[in-house]
Symmetry: C2
Subunit: 141 residues, 2 copies
């Protein structure tokens, strides 16, 4: 399997594990020294323990069923490292039964360790309006 | 010079060119097919022409003198591609002469083309508050 295919599979596994709300499966994909810039709450999460606590909190807060689709995926690889970026359509159903969704941007950087690709860095975000400081949840690709 | 040193120099040149508001020097660092997830305004900017127009608009809107410091820089490289992430302390002086600054997160992915490293992807953002949707400009590392 090429590095491209391996990273593609990793991203599909990541997506499935998040949708299944399986924190163990999600965390198995990260390097121990992962540095994550998540979309919410803090500037950064350093290391697996800190990021696991954040993932657990996010999964508790997220309503279901989950919309979690990845679009415009680009992957570039070498033997040792790789990177990818995509747009994620994320959402769920609120207490009134209404579907709420928005588009987010994702960048991910990977490192191969002992034949296994791991996420060394990831960055999730939504852009903001420069004048109001409000997050732009209504942008579409 | 090692790939690590080359990427480190590229990031220093990028920082200097942005502080000097030299759009030509900034744009010389990007690959033609750059995909950028900037902190403001749009989900993504695809290709150099679109991103140049955005940089020009941002530089017009930004007050001076500029605070633009890079901290906690991490770089990983291979022969063909590289990635880096850091925290940027960004700001300036408003019309009242008050200094305004915030911390942003930056991820950048690089590709070596004909012996020259170029930025293939970059991602700037600030996190938001999940309840209010407001961008969190007061977070500190």
């Amino acid at each position: 399997m090429s590095s491209q295919e391996q990273i593609h599979n990793l991203i599909q596994n990541y997506r499935q594990a998040v949708m299944a709300k399986n924190v163990d499966d999600v965390m198995a994909l990260y390097a121990d020294d992962v540095v994550s810039f998540d979309a919410v709450k803090a500037l950064q999460f350093k290391g697996k323990a800190a990021y696991r606590a954040h993932w657990e909190e996010c999964m508790k807060m997220c309503p279901g069923p989950h919309i979690f689709e990845f679009h415009e995926l680009t992957i570039e690889t070498s033997q040792e490292i790789a990177f990818a970026h995509w747009l994620a359509h994320c959402g769920g159903t609120n207490e009134k039964g209404e579907t709420q969704a928005c588009w987010m941007r994702v960048s991910a950087c990977y490192r191969q360790v002992g034949g296994q690709w791991l996420i060394a860095h990831e960055h999730w975000s939504a852009p903001f309006d420069m004048t109001s400081g409000a997050t732009l949840f209504d942008l579409k690709p």
